[in-house]
Amino acid sequence: MKALRNYLDKIKPNFEEGGKFEKLHSTFEAFETLLFVPDTTTKGGTHVKDVVDLKRTMAVVVMAVMPALLFGMWNVGYQHFLSVGQEMSFWPTFWYGFLRVFPIVIVSYVTGLGIEFGFAQWRGHEVNEGFLVTGMLIPLIVPVDTPLWMIVVAVAFSVVIGKEVFGGTGMNIWNPALLTRAFLFFAYPSKMSGDTVWISGLSKGEGVVDGFSGATPLGQAITGHIDVSLWDSFIGIIPGSIGETSTVAILIGAAILLYTGIANWKIMVSVFVGGYLMAVVFHAIGASYLMHIEPIMQLCLGGFAFGAVFMATDPVSATRTEKGKWIYGFLIGVFAILIRVFNPAYPEGMMLAILLMNTFAPLIDHFVVQGNIKRRLKRAKMVS
């Protein structure tokens, strides 16, 4: 490590002002601080600091996503072989999925980080870690057969328009990963919906066994039946976006996020509560097949669980007051099911619900802040 450190110290002057590679200063810094926590000490203010920083925070989130990613890779393989009617053992199945999913991960990271590095250099900032998580979430919420060039375009759109124009991580209004998904959905609807995009190889017309449709359970539901059991959808052996099929893998991630204290439990809980209550109400009405789905099943289908755990809890685009978090989460749950039931053309109710509430988060916060101000004023009158 000493040698590496010495080497970095040796080449560092090249990247500083007046150096040969001055233009790559932010890039160098990003890699240097990735390798070594910098030796900067506190100046003014507190003399000691909590060891947690944004790198650590983001690294833990990426870790929490891993179960969903790994399961997603296996499921891609599983669904593919199911569609062509082959029996495969575990490793070949996983390997097939890995080969399909890994390129998406790489493309997402390279595109997003490339843009982030550029902006950081342009602004003279340090590279922000936010995209470490975004870049990992994007592959998990797209259908496996999404062409890579579309991912490049969508990532570029969401990083530039969704984030950098507002000032980078911490300033954005919408969750960048969901913005990518929304961009794909609205820009290339034919590639993002239908029955074939969810299974690798299906859209290219590879051989299909009789009776295999490839439709997601929600896709099926529109036509009035669901083939999968609650158990299947809880485990995740159903067609769907890469990482969002397995509720159990997502819950493992949720446990990590909650235990480490990174994700807000209030948001997570209230999303599930909001969604569940809405589903119960619809179940009681039961006017259509989509309404009729068991409430628990509703929470296991589509992107609901994934959105609740990894998307709604993004602190930047969520409400920032504690009270606001209850409201925000609850409304996401309610709207997700509402959109799902009443607008089957957009089966991804969760995505739209979160983006909608992202938009309203500052308004919710505004009311909570006004409440605080009013309470403080009242207290002033009481005292005097």
């Binding site: 947690v52 944004l54 925070t57």
Partner: protein
């Protein structure tokens, strides 16, 4: 008094190096200094020249904006230096002690026959006035104001803080006299916040004060937090505050007619070989305390505690409002992949490091930043360590955007830098929040006054 006010939010940082309840022996230093930078918004105007002889209680300089606020020498001797920094800003006014400790006679006073105005006059001229600070703004009190109340926090809950029960034992009489002076200043409205967990014998035996008992973690001992829970400050209110040892100094002024700058200081921190309390004086050089008393050389000396203290050199001077010197390791090292390692021995409030395995452990924290500065990303962190009905993040953002109305509405009058020190400690984005609050307070002074 009967009911205990529970402070539910806060954090006691488990630091190594708390101070042992014993007095250590160290010589009084030769050099003493008053540092104008300890007082916010002060522009010093010298009244003595370098080379002049002074006594304890001789005026050294006054505030250019408020000439009635004067600062005196803590010891007798010679004014040897006026150390300046950038743009000739005065940093330290250094007095070399002659060891005689001659005190200027300032005259005793019979409190029952002294009016409030005379008391203020006497405190101003004898140099004890700067120990009285005001809320809002956390600056030296304006002698022309009439405070709504006088508040003293009787205990310090900051990391490795000194125990005032220990310090005040034996000074009960002077403390009572000091309190009587403060009662006159505030129409007999003096409050002391005491810790529900300690004996607080001196305070309980003091006459004429209202005691409030607080239980909970730091910042329960911050006077601003106590005021917030007892008599919150609203727009237009002024509350005066001071510290227990300053009450004793005020008491001695009225009882004995001299300026006695004696101060008990706790020497703490993980890098100190032998921690103890030391009897020294205000503005004393810390050199005799730390000489041959350290575990290693690469250390940081702090006048005050690790959250709010001022960084000083090994021969630096004790700050005006400090009763504590802390020595911690300097953190100027690179750590390979530090953010990715399990981190068994590292302290974090979040459970992102594996140190939650060993709950009871105390930590030897150093001055490393542990990361780079970022925008506000994580939410809900600050609220957990700020026990006030204030939305910290929104207040900080109001300050950054210089929105005076919002600052007022969101509680700028109630807050001081020290109250947000814990927010700064836990901040994932490593934002210098105490600075932000100071800028906000300065802006309010300028715009609202």
């Amino acid at each position: 008094m009967s009911e205990v006010i529970k402070i539910k939010r806060g954090l006691d940082i488990p630091l190594l190096g708390s101070v042992d309840s014993q007095y250590g022996k160290a010589d009084l230093p030769e050099l003493f200094a008053i540092k104008p930078i300890d007082f916010h918004g002060l522009i010093p105007k010298m009244e003595r020249k370098v080379g002049e002889k002074v006594k304890a209680g001789t005026i050294l300089f006054h505030d250019k904006n408020r000439p009635e606020v004067k600062f005196v020498s803590p010891v007798s001797g010679e004014l040897v230096a006026v150390n300046r920094g950038e743009r000739r800003k005065i940093l330290e006014i250094v007095v070399k002690s002659d060891g005689a400790n001659e005190k200027k006679n300032l005259g005793k006073a019979d409190l029952s026959k002294t009016s409030k105005e005379e008391i203020v006059e006497k405190m101003l001229n004898s140099g004890v006035w700067p120990s009285v600070r005001q809320r809002p703004y956390d600056i030296i009190a304006n002698p022309a104001d009439t405070p709504k109340a006088f508040f003293i926090s009787g205990f310090d809950s900051a990391p490795l803080a000194p125990d005032y029960d220990f310090i005040l034992t034996g000074q009960e009489k002077e403390f009572q006299t000091g309190i009587d002076v403060l009662r006159k200043l505030s129409d007999d409205n003096v409050h002391i916040g005491i810790s529900a967990e300690s004996a607080s014998k001196v305070y309980k035996e003091t006459n004429g004060v209202t005691l409030h008992s607080f239980a909970g973690k730091h910042p329960a001992g911050n006077v601003g937090i106590q005021i917030h829970h007892v008599q919150p400050i609203c727009k237009g209110d002024v509350v005066w505050v001071t510290q227990p040892q300053d009450v004793v100094t005020i008491g001695k002024l009225f009882a004995d007619g001299v300026y006695d700058a004696s101060r008990v200081v706790a020497l703490s921190g993980s890098m100190v070989e032998k921690s103890a309390y030391f009897k020294t004086k205000l503005g004393a050089s810390i050199a005799p305390l730390v000489k041959n008393n350290l575990k290693q050389d690469n250390v940081r000396y702090i006048s005050g505690n690790v959250l709010t203290g001022t960084r000083i050199e090994s021969d630096g001077y004790l700050g005006y409002y400090h009763s504590q010197v802390t020595v911690i390791p300097e953190g100027n090292y690179h750590e390979f992949m530090g953010w990715a390692l399990p981190g068994f021995g590292k302290y974090s409030v979040s459970r992102t490091f594996f140190s939650w395995f060993c709950k009871k452990k105390k930590y030897d924290l150093d001055s490393n930043m542990h990361g780079g500065k970022r925008a506000f990303v994580v939410s809900g962190q600050y609220e957990k360590v700020l026990p006030m009905d204030i939305l910290p993040e929104f207040l900080f953002k109001a300050i950054i955007t210089e929105d005076i109305d919002k600052m007022e509405q969101l509680g700028i009058y109630e807050i001081a830098e020290e109250d947000v020190a814990l927010c700064e400690f836990v901040c994932t984005s490593k934002i210098n929040l105490q600075n932000i609050v100071r800028e906000g307070l300065d802006l309010m002074i300028k715009e609202v006054g």
